[in-house]
């Protein structure tokens, strides 16, 4: 039986196990939406296409599967670009389906025509323009395979309007085989033997975990490896939750706003085992002094990540989970001697760093933003899924909320995309209806996608939006304070909506705390509400995030409180 393009699309999505789509209709996708309404597919109608992509991103991270969004041609498509770029930088598997003008109009500057395949070429893992109905089913299959395999990433499929209406038999391959795309999952064992040798020799080793641990679901393997070898663990922003923060081996985050002990430990270690990381400049700082006393082992599935920013002694191309599994097997029968005795001096040093400079703040009669995150952690017992916006709110969330499990911290790490947290929280709550989901936001970034409050309310999503309101674009202000002689150029945000009224206007619950003694009450009330809630905290205006490594400095050269 012949199916229309729209029917083929819906069937192919179903075969990929898709049950939820985040999207926004329009002219070029009318027929797809018409077909969608006849299926079981759940559609979440966002209020801006950027929100659809961030929501699919949040969904993908919370659920550990591929997120899907559907938008129309032209502006619908261009509005997805920021979301796609964010997902690309963080290697999040999503499939974006965009409508396109009919094939015969392509290139004619037709109404709502844009070359979205051209625009997104550098920010997708791959993209397609489907020009023949016969290719549609196969293309969707390929797109999902590419998005989810190897180093994951966003894949875009552009479907012209006429293709959606044409008829064809549904023919889709059972398995995708691409001669030009074969990710390396299995590591070279010779390289792993070198790692074992280094492990035996090392006196001051550190493990540095990244987003790759979470993407490959390698948290258990990593934990086993660290505990067996008794090596302290630090992580990038993307790696938080990849190793339990309650474990005594946990050092905290590394990098520009990493903990003092993490950064010092990287500076002084003699062996750095980096797993699923890419040595982003916000982590590495000045590259020639980064872990300069260490032999560096770098495990990553993407060969381009290796030797890109930091030159390493033992490169290992492979999937984090498979590789750590191999390593765990290799070391099972190795004799490391009395390892706790051997590490004693190293742990003493680390403890000394921790005691000299722990993460800290002093709560005065004005609410400290860190205090809010602290209390939030306490009240949710560390079990909430936390999404963030970008800036100070993101860093305080990373520093003061401690993650024991993967897929619980959802943030725009690489692109640093303000406006990410609210739609990502929507996606996460859709994926995990029984979890507490909290978007830790700033007053600046929440305004970038606050229209998605309507989406949250429409679908009865009880997400919690915690706004740390300092009436500044806080992180930029902080840089201006520290590096631009306090010239606060365009960072004051005194004119914001009344967030309580804003929440109420959307049909959500609005709460506000202006004094420290109100913090706990507002949080408890908000968290226990079954509705979408905004909790606004009027915080210390000029609080800064510390420690801080100035851009381009060594990570051991931190500005401290």
């Amino acid at each position: 039986m012949k199916l229309t393009g729209a029917q083929i699309l819906m069937r192919a999505l179903k075969e990929e196990g898709v049950d939820t789509i985040f999207g926004y209709p329009g002219g070029a996708v009318l027929d797809i939406y018409d077909e969608l309404a006849r299926t079981e597919m759940r559609h979440i109608l966002v209020r801006h296409e950027q929100g659809a992509v961030h929501a699919a991103d949040g969904y993908a991270r919370a659920a550990g599967k591929i997120g899907v969004c559907l938008v129309t041609s032209g502006p619908g498509a261009t509005n997805t670009v920021t979301g796609i770029a964010s997902a690309y930088m963080d290697s999040i598997p999503i499939v974006i389906i965009t409508g396109q003008v009919p094939t015969k109009l392509i290139g004619n500057d037709a109404f709502q025509e844009v070359d979205i395949v051209g625009i997104t070429r550098p920010c997708t893992k791959h993209n397609y323009l489907v020009k023949n109905i016969e290719d549609l089913a196969k293309t969707i299959k390929e797109a999902f395979y590419i998005a989810g395999s190897g180093r994951p990433g966003p894949v875009l499929i552009d479907i012209p309007k006429d293709i959606v209406n044409e008829l064809a038999e549904y023919i889709s391959p059972k398995k995708v085989r691409l001669r030009s795309y074969n990710p390396t999952y299995n590591p070279n064992i010779k390289q792993l033997n070198k790692v074992v040798k280094l492990l035996k020799k090392a006196k001051k080793p550190v493990i540095f975990a990244g987003g790759g641990i979470i993407l490959s679901k390698a948290h258990e393997e990593l934990t086993e490896f660290a505990r067996k070898t008794l090596i302290p663990v630090t992580a990038s922003l993307m790696g938080l939750g990849g190793f339990p923060a309650s474990d005594p081996l946990w050092l905290g985050m590394v990098g520009m706003h990493g903990t003092y002990r993490s950064n010092m430990a990287i500076g002084e270690c003699d062996l750095l085992i980096a797993v699923g990381v890419r040595f982003d400049d916000r982590v590495a700082g000045r590259t020639d002094t980064f872990a300069s006393n260490a032999e560096i082992v770098h495990i990553d599935i993407d060969p381009t990540s290796i030797q890109k920013n930091i030159s390493v002694s033992v490169p290992v191309v492979g999937d984090c989970k498979i590789t750590l599994n191999h390593l765990n097997n290799l070391i099972k029968n190795e004799d490391f001697g009395d390892i706790s005795q051997k590490r004693k001096k190293w742990f003493d040093k680390i403890n000394e760093w921790m005691n000299t400079m722990p993460l800290s703040y002093t709560q005065t009669d004005i609410i400290k933003p860190q205090y809010v995150v602290d209390k939030l952690y306490e009240l949710t017992k560390g079990k909430a899924i936390i999404t963030t916006e970008v800036g100070q709110n993101q860093m305080w969330a990373a520093q003061y909320y401690h993650f024991d499990e993967p897929n619980h911290f959802i943030t725009s790490g690489g692109l640093g995309c303000m406006g990410f947290g609210l739609p990502a929280a929507i996606g996460a709550q859709v994926a995990c209806p029984n979890k507490i989901v909290v978007d830790i936001a700033g007053d600046g970034s929440i305004q970038m996608n606050s229209q998605e409050l309507a989406t949250a309310v429409q679908y009865n999503l009880p997400i919690n939006i915690v706004i740390l309101n300092n009436q500044y674009l806080g992180m930029v202000r902080q840089w201006q304070e520290l590096f631009y002689d306090k010239r606060y150029s365009s960072t004051g945000m005194e004119h914001a909506p009344d967030f309580v009224k804003l929440a109420e206007a959307y049909g959500a619950v609005g709460l506000r705390a202006s004094k420290p003694e109100d913090v706990e009450r507002v949080l408890s009330e908000g968290l226990s509400s079954k509705k979408t809630v905004i909790m606004e905290f009027v915080v210390e205006r000029e609080e800064s995030v510390y420690p801080m490594v100035p851009a381009g400095a060594s990570i051991t050269e931190m500005l401290l409180v």
Binding site: V117, G118, R121, P122, K125, H126, L129, I146, L178, R179, S180, Y181, D302, P303, T304, Q307, K308, S311
Partner: protein
Amino acid sequence: MTIEKHVLSILVDNKPGVLSRIVGLFSGRGYNIESLAVAETMDPLVSRITLVTKADAPVIEQIEKQLNKLINVIKVNDFTGAEYVQREMVLIKVTAKSEHRAEILRMVDIFRCKVVDVGIEHYIIETTGDQSKIDAILKLLKPIGIKEIVKTGIIALLRDQYTKK
């Protein structure tokens, strides 16, 4: 770190937009392209791109890895250090007033080029060769007056599959 010239031979899917992915990768990441030649291979589903770039060792490593990461790239071969044949074709429109005609034709003869078009005041000369031959003939023709040239970009092929480093 020394910057060296590399001849990359890249086999890619013969599909629309693939060249744009390659060129976009180079411009987006700040790599340079000295020359570029593209055409279908014996297999109509595959095209060969011969690309000449200049880079130091870590950058050329990244270039090759980044190329390999593109979904449509089948194989990247860096010919540097291997034995390969390299050719480029140039069409040269040279001013050919009567007093210079004989001299130009002598050069055409010596360099085994061909005159492919004759005008009242010009010749178009077709020449094929490696970089040094082309540089030499251009240098000799320049004083006579070169009006315009067009180059195909370098194409190259390994002499023997097994001689590669």
